[in-house]
């Protein structure tokens, strides 16, 4: 029996480490050494950065990435966002609060929908 025993995994041990914390000002770059010895260059967005420009955000992100920096902060915010419910024009009430009548309006309503698609 023992001659067929094969190690298919190995025990591993992770040394307890202290959490890594950083505190750096907007518009500056902070170099952070991670637990494995690798380094991150964090670049916090400047207070005057405009987060409403999508194309500008993409260009800026790529230029900083090429410089080896990881941009942090509010990168983009749509001033007039629309969500899935607005686009699909869904009902306001959760489905579990709708009655049978609302959930299944009957064959006349189905006929009307089908007719609108012809």
């Amino acid at each position: 029996m023992r001659q067929h025993n094969e190690a298919v995994n190995r025990l591993d041990y992770m040394d307890p480490r202290e959490p890594i914390t950083v505190d750096y000002a907007p518009g500056t770059v902070s170099e952070v050494t991670l637990h494995d010895g690798s380094m991150l260059r964090l670049a916090k967005l400047h207070p005057e950065y405009d987060p409403h420009d999508r194309i500008g955000a993409m260009t800026y992100m790529q230029s900083r990435a090429a410089a080896g920096e990881v941009v942090t902060g509010l990168i983009y915010m749509d001033p007039a966002p629309k969500d899935m419910h607005a686009m699909l024009n869904t009902v306001d009430a959760p489905l579990n609060r709708l009655g049978e009548k609302e959930l299944c309006p009957g064959s006349a309503a189905l006929e009307k929908i089908n007719a609108s698609l012809r």
């Binding site: 307890p16 480490r17 959490p19 914390t21």
Partner: protein
């Protein structure tokens, strides 16, 4: 261990928010992640943000996939709705939940393995559909649960714990989110609570 709940008692003078909750009411089970891991720092930031926002725990739904990051919802918001879905499939499950009930506040927690590899298509389509949620990707460039393989976001030239070198180009989820129409895009470092908490609150 995740099945061991944290003791409920706390200092009577612990600050309360407008709802009468302390930050302890937004905690979950005891974390089983490696001591010092950034995931626990992010969980702490989520707890603080929800406490400060005076959110009623029962109005929140937290959903995740598979991985170290996707384990973390067990460690915060223990009184909220939760669903741990299939690997990379959190966006679909969350989209369905959101369609059925838009009154809940949705928090999707994922990682670089869950969202940049097996769930990349899910990530992209969820973002482009404009699902109203906070999609939080806890990205460390490595598969921690399976002992340190490179993820799709690892920098080219990165060295693994076993000594291997990554030859593949990295995916940038933030850039991808911008490209496919995300309406709110932010990034922070797990250990920068001063920046991370306000960003979670803003979203």
């Amino acid at each position: 261990m995740t099945y061991i709940a944290k003791p409920k008692f706390h200092h009577p003078a612990l600050p309360k928010n407008n709802l009468g909750f302390t930050h302890r009411d937004y905690e979950g089970s005891i974390s089983t992640l490696c001591a010092g891991c950034g995931h626990d720092s992010i969980s702490a930031a989520v707890i603080q943000a929800c406490f400060e926002l005076n959110l009623e725990p029962h109005r929140l739904a937290k959903l995740s996939g598979i991985g170290c990051s996707s384990k973390t919802p067990d460690y915060f918001l223990g009184q909220s709705h939760g669903f741990n879905s299939v690997h990379g499939r959190m966006p679909s499950v969350l989209t369905g939940s959101n369609l059925a009930n838009k009154e809940l506040i949705y928090l999707g927690v994922s990682g670089d393995g869950d969202s940049a590899s097996i769930g990349l298509g899910q990530f992209v389509h969820c973002v482009r559909r404009g699902v109203n949620m906070l999609y939080m990707t806890e990205n460390n460039g490595v598969y921690g649960l399976t002992k340190g393989q490179f993820s799709a976001t690892a920098d080219k030239g990165s060295k693994s714990k076993a000594g291997g070198s990554n030859n593949d180009s990295p995916l940038d989820l933030v850039g991808m989110a911008l490209l496919v129409g995300a309406t709110f895009v932010a990034r922070s470092f797990s250990g920068d609570k001063k920046q991370l908490v306000p960003l979670i609150r803003a979203c």
